[in-house]
Amino acid sequence: MEDFIHSESVDSDLQLKVTISREKLVENVNHVIKAVSSRTTIPILTGIKFVASKEGIELTGSDSDVSIQSFIPLEENGIENATVDIPGQIVLQARFFSDIVKKLPGDQVDLEVDSRLMTRITSGSSEFNLNGQDAEEYPHLPSIREENSFNIRTDVLKHVIKQTVFAVSTSETRPVLTGVNWNIQNGKLSCVSTDSHRLAMRTISIETEDNLEKSNVIIPGKSLSDLAKILDDSGSDWVQIIITDNQILFKSNHLQFYSRLLEGNYPNTQGLIPQESKTEVILSTKSFLQAIDRASLLAREERNNVVKLKTLNDNTIEILSQSTEIGRVFENVSTKSIEGEEIRISFSAKYMMDALSKIDATEIKINFTGAMRPFLIRPVDEQDILMLILPVRTN
């Protein structure tokens, strides 16, 4: 009886009271925590903002460069995800909150916040009490007007990201190169990335309103990698994309992903792509990739991962790699055709494997213009994906 009175008196003091499916909560906390950084200069951003309304529960994580908002509707496809008894909001320490919900024993999680922002999380027989922070102090997300938006199918977007983001620079010496450059013109979106040693370019058609044009949109590579990870299980078929001067917003069913854009001018890469070709080799993507992969067993023991490629007379190329300490490897790979001048060229096995593994074509053509000049790898009949690699100079 005393217990009952006690809990009544606490209840009257409550600012928020909800019950959520633990699985749903874990999934959505995992999404938004990708934006949370422990090294933020704004202390409250080490937390996750939790807002319960009559429609559902909204979680937000942010490091002020990237913000992710994820929504759990009360009901979805006839399945109840959550019930909100008292709507309200709170900010909870992200690392602790995420670790706690992952390990809670029950299928349901009860979350209650009292007037002192003390948050009680119960599940099964377990109870946690966490100190919350005032959600009023949490910064507002950038407000973005929904004009000039366009849509991309989720699977296509993920694929485009995968095909470009690997080539961004990891060094801060030239910050714009840590991003992927998006340009929109004539209903086409082209995505380019380069770390100055290799370059990846992918173009897709998009449907835009009133001939949308955008140039020099530079999206941090890390934002795109994180987005691709989250989009995995979002279950939505289309992503709506809105670009402003300094922000990009990706919206899917229950997810909003904001990223700051990188400042500065992306170099004009179009002019750097060789237009002519002195040697053209056409061969099977798979057998070439496997040969390079084998050669790299020794190449990666050496600086710059060097493998050497040499055209031979009978439509064959020779792949060679050596490590002073370990040994040498030779391999001849048959090609479909070799046209033009004879070539001997050295390049990084890693860059070649990165590029080949992103091309979904059974046959590729490689165009060389000289041993010290960039070369191009493309599917035989497609123009919408291009990989460029700079060779390694050996003496």
Binding site: T173, S196, H197, R300, R303, N304, S346, V392, N395
Partner: protein, 396 residues
């Protein structure tokens, strides 16, 4: 010089694996392999413990193969920072016996103990060193004792682990000469084949082959080989050799503390210019640069950066150094600035990953490389090498 010397060659037994076992006692007595990439099945075994070798695990074997030979094999990725640190401790310990210590690599070195030998019996001294190394660092070693470097090196190879072997000149006919030529230090696979072709099977065969005829066939290198087979090797134990080859440093203690960027720039330029000259003298390029800043409160900051495009010119070195400086200077007054270039590679072996925005400069030299290639095809490798024009500033 002609007075008889006493040289030790100390060789650490499966160094990486031993260091791991010293650091993680629970690994002791277990088959352990250090491999390039553990998660990658095809990572290559770099070294392995004696327990693993007993199961047939060998260096350069792929991890999956090693695992098949020895299912209970524990595989770890190398921790080079740790190995370097332990290696420094090892050589510091060796230097407490004599200054004449030459580091050949992380896990082997020579000591010239001639001066100590008048007071200590060489074998006792070797036992003492071996015990001290084992006691302080828990690392097994083998020591070879001989009158010169070559024989000491051959000796340390004869008994492992924890072996001590003496090679005497007068016993060479029993110890060294019966060994097959493959086992002679300095003889590679190619040379071994060539030696066998002319009927030389053992080191003794080389020693007894007429010297002029041998030199005729093997050149200058052959002369050294012939001498060594006869127990002649006059190379000194050189404590400086490590520094000469592995890194070059330049630093300036400033006449007055610097507080402005504009004052720092010319100092770094000067250091870079000196390093360029030294690198060119040594015909080397550098893949790693470190910048040291000492503040007026004596706090030292050293930051290292690796590069894919080797550094050699003043401009290349300066640009790297100043970029590191801007990243790490905390604004306090600076007393000393230093630049070290390390991870050196001979110019004719250095490779350069070309850059999309600057490759044109390299491409201009392409016709030259083509010429080199056709000359090489005609006359064989090393017929010709790229040189460089002497910079007039270098001449004093």
């Amino acid at each position: 010089m002609n007075q008889s010397r006493v040289i030790f060659h100390i060789d650490m037994n499966s160094f990486y694996a031993s260091v791991e076992m010293a650091r993680h006692p629970e690994l002791r007595g277990k088959p352990l392999a250090i491999a390039g990439k553990v998660e990658d099945r095809r990572g290559i075994v770099v070294t392995s413990s004696y327990e693993a070798r007993a199961h047939g695990v060998k260096t350069t074997m792929q991890v999956w193969e090693a695992r098949r030979k020895c299912p209970q094999l524990i595989v770890k990725t190398p921790d080079f920072d740790l190995y370097r640190k332990v290696s420094r401790q090892l050589f510091d310990l060796l230097r407490t016996y004599t200054e004449k210590v030459e580091k050949v690599s992380v896990d082997e070195g020579y000591m010239d103990v001639t001066a100590l030998a008048s007071r200590h019996h060489p074998v006792k001294l070797a036992q003492e060193i071996q015990q001290q190394v084992f006691h302080h660092l828990q690392l097994p070693s083998s020591i070879g004792i001989a009158p010169n470097k070559f024989m000491a090196k051959m000796a340390s190879d004869m008994k492992k682990p924890m072996g001590i072997t003496i090679l005497r000149k007068r016993e060479m006919n029993q110890t060294l000469w019966p060994l097959p030529v493959d086992e002679m230090h300095g003889v590679g696979q190619k040379t071994a084949e060539k030696l066998k072709k002319i009927g030389l099977q053992t080191i003794g065969d080389i020693a007894h082959y007429p010297k002029p005829a041998f030199i005729e066939q093997f050149g200058k290198y052959g002369e050294k080989l012939h001498d060594r087979a006869n127990g002649i090797d006059e190379r000194e134990v050189d404590p400086q050799s490590e520094h000469e080859f592995k890194s070059i440093s330049q630093s300036i203690t400033l006449p007055k503390d610097l507080t402005e960027e504009e004052e720092v720039q010319p100092v770094l330029r000067r250091l870079a210019a000196r390093l360029e000259r030294k690198l060119k003298e040594k015909k080397s390029m550098s893949y790693q640069l470190s910048l040291s800043i000492r503040y007026n409160n004596w706090r030292n900051v050293t930051r290292v950066q690796s590069v894919q495009q080797p550094l050699q010119t003043e401009e290349e070195i300066y640009q790297r150094a100043i970029a590191i400086f801007y990243q790490h200077w905390n604004g306090q007054p600076i007393r000393l600035l230093g630049i070290t270039v390390q991870s050196l590679e001979p110019m004719n072996k250095a490779t350069k990953q070309l850059d999309l925005f600057t490759y044109e400069k390299d491409a201009q030299k392409e016709p030259l490389y083509d010429t080199l290639y056709s000359l090489e095809k005609k006359f064989g490798p090393s017929a010709i090498h790229l040189g460089w024009k002497e910079d007039p500033r270098d001449q004093k």
